[in-house]
């Protein structure tokens, strides 16, 4: 019988939640690396027992961990993320130029086909790749040396490369997103990059339609239709039907179009999920009601999903990497909150159940569907 494994990163360690295909009873293991921040854990699509984890600490810096047995045991891998060539500078909060400086790995994206190849999105924004299972890391420097890089600037959380999407239909095509620079696409495996921000409008920057400078929070695609992308921007939910070449707003009837995560149903490419947050200065759900919004039409028309979620006095946030879907039928949807709850739905979002309630603040959730 198939099963589900959730990889949960929190501010104080990693947790592995497992269930059989009914998704009714969950076992919780962890904390792994207790006391450390686990920004992201993700399994290899080519070998689900191969899991990579980003472990970091304000005291001790960055560590990369790797498991070969589905998260039961771990080994420490290489953590040398050295920018390639001249480091260069980017815009700092005070308007001055500041040299790129490595802070942490925000996101790990294993290759779709090779368990030993994994990409890392880091702060200050750059893309690295390991081809030896995480032992050594090489920068794909064409991104950081893009001519627009000197005007990239950090968002409130730092200048992070937080999203990496590998296109299953076009080998060599990679989408990434940076706060606050925007979305970029490579069609040659990460050697050269183009900004993909046409159609975005951000009133918080001097030129609202600039080529770069947008605070993209998250992008998502459906594997079967990789030319269609969905985006949760700082404000605005957006959609692209041409692999990022242009975007249009699909916020529609959302109560607020600020938020962090966005994800796509495993079997319905036009069904998408967001968690509206009140505003950029009030990072909690509007009216104290935790509501996932689902669109079955690829945006514009949204319905609130509330069954099983707190509908009063709820002031948690859901961070950009803290939502995931499984590939069972019906599709499971999961998200974690800054209040330490991980909620799951085994019916595409119609109803929700807390899997755990009292973890440390949740940073990331990934779902693995196991044979």
């Amino acid at each position: 019988m198939s099963g589900i494994r959730l990889l949960v990163g929190t501010r104080k360690g990693g947790f592995v939640l497992t269930a059989d295909g009914t998704r009714e009873r969950w076992d919780v293991s962890g904390p792994h690396f207790g006391g450390w921040e686990l920004y992201h854990l993700k399994g290899s699509p080519a070998d689900p027992n191969r899991i990579y984890a980003s472990q970091s600490s304000g005291w001790f810096g960055q560590v990369i961990q790797r498991s070969s047995d589905g998260g039961k045991t771990w080994e420490t891998m290489g953590n040398k993320f050295e920018y390639e060539g001249a480091v260069g500078t980017h815009l700092w909060y005070d308007g001055t130029q500041r040299p790129w400086e490595f802070a942490r790995v925000w996101h790990l994206e294993p290759s779709l086909t090779d368990p030993d190849t994994v990409y890392a999105g880091i702060q200050d924004a750059a893309l690295f790749r390991s081809k030896d299972g995480g032992q050594t890391w090489q920068e794909l420097a064409g991104l950081r040396t893009h001519k627009s890089a000197p005007v990239w600037q950090p968002g409130a959380g730092g200048m992070c490369l937080h999203t990496i999407l590998l296109d299953p239909s076009h080998p060599g095509r990679i989408f990434i997103a940076i706060s606050a620079a925007g979305t970029f696409r490579s069609d040659d495996g990460g050697t050269t990059w183009r900004p993909m921000n046409r159609g975005l409008r951000s009133e918080q920057i001097p030129d609202p339609t600039a080529e770069v400078g947008h605070c993209v929070h998250r992008i998502a695609m459906h594997r079967a239709r990789p030319n269609v992308l969905f985006m949760q921007k700082h404000w605005d939910v957006m959609r692209s039907d041409d692999a990022g070449e242009s975007w249009r707003e699909v916020s529609g009837n959302l109560p607020t179009d600020f938020g962090f995560p966005i994800d796509v149903h495993a079997h319905e490419p036009e069904t998408i999920y967001v968690v509206p947050i009140k505003s950029d200065s009030e990072h909690y759900p509007p009216d104290g009601k935790l509501r996932v919004y689902r669109s079955r039409s690829g945006g514009q028309e949204w319905e609130a999903l509330t069954k099983g979620l707190p509908q009063a006095h709820c002031y948690v946030n859901v961070l950009r990497d803290a939502m995931a879907v499984d590939t069972l039928d019906p599709c499971g949807v999961y998200f974690g909150t800054t209040g330490g709850q991980v909620y799951g739905s085994s019916n595409g979002g119609d109803s929700w159940t807390p899997i755990v309630r009292d973890l440390p603040s949740v940073v990331s959730v990934e779902a693995q569907t196991l044979p």
Binding site: S57, G58, W59, F60, G61, V63, T76, N79, K80, E82
Partner: protein, 98 residues
């Protein structure tokens, strides 16, 4: 023989209990201690000092014999009591919340 006391999280990372004992090939300095430590326990690379610049991580301190040696040049000779193993070289995480 040099005795090194690590913060708890680094003991876990290095998979050691208690003090770490190191033999140095040359003079006992902070830099030599860290080189020997990282050679013996490669998982500690980057966790105490930057791997490229060798700059001490901001929230770590080096103490020995009741003194804070954190701001001394990395090639400063350590006190005789540390060099002989009578006193440990302490790597300490700064007190900070959370």
């Amino acid at each position: 023989m040099i005795r090194v006391v690590l913060p708890a999280h680094l003991r876990t990372l290095a998979r050691v209990d208690g003090e770490v004992k190191l033999e140095l090939g040359g003079p006992a300095t902070p830099d030599a201690v860290l080189e020997a430590l990282e050679t013996a326990y490669p998982t500690l690379r980057g966790t105490i000092r930057d791997q490229v610049t060798h700059r001490r991580r901001a929230f770590l301190r080096f103490f020995a014999c009741g003194e804070d040696l954190s701001h001394e040049p990395a090639d400063t000779p350590l006190p005789e009591a540390v060099a002989t193993g009578a006193e440990p070289f302490l790597i300490v995480g700064a007190m900070a919340g959370g």
